[in-house]
Symmetry: C2
Subunit: 333 residues, 2 copies
């Protein structure tokens, strides 16, 4: 568990997209962000207070989160200078970079000397159990997609926000690096050992109040041959009571798999539900989330209306239309 609140480290981000992790934290957990730390030449801006390490510390920040991708997979000396100083000032560090903080001997040495923690959220730190399939209390909803990167995390975070706004009890459960940095904890599912995948999802979504919803971040797709096993571990470990289908309509083939066509929403509904019922016979599909970022306003509206009519389920783009109707579907569950 990463200590909040954060100081967001944007480094020397060459463009706003390089800082998308910081943007995710800023968008979804603004209360977790005390300020931002930008170096010379930084081209990203979260529109929050620029702070020195000292100022952020005084404002209560506990962890410096690396919210930016590094160039060439190397943690530069310019970054190092800031990171070392942050440890010395009493910050923990958190990172989702491929190259790990723990593999940098200088950071390890300083962290140890200062009694601080290095969080590499790509690496599991828990010994997860084997899944036991026992039914847990409380409710769970999982977003499953026609493909990878169709907006499952965004859908889950938007749904969580809409539910809280309605006074419902909900918790976003992160299963990927960005989600973990946004919320401060979760399971880096793609890095878990095969035998423990489903068990890690059970661990992530324990017993809760009967009217509480865990909103489980989806990964991959049952129809994406590279990652489908990860997705099925989510379906069976998560024991979802409800599924939300996610889709991006303009994609010509499965991400990274030329020659593989996308399944239809009906395919994903039928396959997802049949598999989910193995772990939870009461599971049902409650809504559809469409990522319409490559469509015009009217086109998006028409597309969602068509899907809604065809599948008989509320269908929205949570970014364009909000996630209220998905939250309503869960409220009515």
């Amino acid at each position: 568990m990463i200590q909040t609140p954060y100081l967001l480290f944007l480094g020397d981000a060459p463009d706003p997209l390089a800082a998308k992790v910081a943007q995710g934290i800023r968008d979804w957990r603004p209360d977790n962000c005390v300020g931002q730390f930008r170096m010379d030449g930084c081209k990203a801006d979260m529109k929050i207070a620029d702070m020195t390490l000292e100022e952020a510390k005084a404002a209560g920040a506990k962890t410096l989160v690396i919210g930016v991708a590094n160039r060439g997979g190397v943690i530069s000396q310019a970054w190092k200078k800031v990171l070392v100083q942050a440890l010395e000032e009493g910050f923990d560090l958190a990172s989702g970079l491929h190259n790990l903080l723990r593999d940098e001997p200088d950071l390890v040495a300083v962290a140890e000397a200062c009694g601080r923690t290095l969080h590499d959220v790509r690496v599991p730190v828990v010994d997860y159990p084997i899944a036991d399939g026992v039914k847990r209390k409380g409710k769970r909803v999982l977003a499953i997609g026609t493909d990878c990167s169709v907006g499952k995390m965004y859908t889950a975070l938007a749904l969580d926000k809409a539910m809280r706004d309605k006074g419902m009890k909900s918790t976003f459960r992160a299963t990927g690096q960005t989600g973990i940095l946004i919320t401060g904890d979760g399971v880096p599912l793609d890095a878990v050992i095969a035998d423990f995948m489903a068990g890690s999802v059970e661990w992530l979504t324990p017993d809760n109040d009967e009217d509480h919803w865990d909103i489980i971040e989806g990964q991959g797709s049952l129809f994406h041959v590279s990652y489908s096993g990860v997705t099925l571990a989510l379906v069976h470990g998560g024991q979802p009571d409800a599924l939300i289908l996610c889709h991006e309509p303009t994609r010509s083939h499965m991400r990274g798999l030329p020659g593989y066509a996308l399944p239809s929403l009906e395919d994903v509904r039928d396959m997802g539900l049949a598999l989910a019922k193995v772990a939870n016979p009461n599971c049902r599909v409650v809504g559809v989330s469409i990522n319409t970022q490559h469509m015009g306003e009217q086109e998006a509206k028409t597309y969602c209306a068509d899907v809604e009519a065809k599948l008989g389920l509320p269908c929205v783009d949570p970014f364009r239309h909000g996630a209220d109707r998905l939250a309503d579907a869960l409220a009515a569950y």
Copy 2:
């Protein structure tokens, strides 16, 4: 890749069952077994020549394989004495034990000094790729089960033998510890990192002759919530052209999951085929393998005949009836 042939180490096996790994090697790859090494009090016997380390070395053995489970998860000093001497005599060591050879400092030191290799087959040693889903040449058959431990490995090994006896080209592809020790290589799939599961199965079953069959060892079950993700990685990474359904009819619930009923063979057929067609639209189910070990002779016969009539597929217990009819089904593919 473990060097063959082997000297089978049976240690102080308290009963024959403790030596089931050695038995598997002896049953399926007798040519890999130069002899057996038994300590005082050993209650297992592979019915092959008892040999000293020197005799086995002279007879050409390259690797001492630990074919027995250890008591209490500790490699005893009595074992150590033999293992150290084996390294000194020029043997590599191979083990599927939970506690790893590489975690024993004395074995590591002696192996290094003698230039020998310690093979812990529970631990992947290859950096597997992410699956790319590209169609490979040659044919592949995968055994999928209603549950774990219903006889998928046995079915695959029996099928491999039957196909070779018919002059067909086939290779058993191990995906578990025992299978890896039997054949000398494979992928310990349950220990692979989630993102690389399907890629490891692609790696295991590369391009081959068009008339060659890879017989992929199955793991878990699509209906076993603890391990289903591993199974789906086999289905999508393996791109099987053919599936064989495996079942043990007397089980009252899924292994380790009280309260979870077994799926029907029809359920496994339909779900398995629908998922397999994502990676290989030509996939079909070609036969059924029933583990009738808890049934009488006549009961087993009747059961298989009933399944055969109901599913319209050849149905045998490969242990009782041989795997010839399954091999014929692949020959006719």
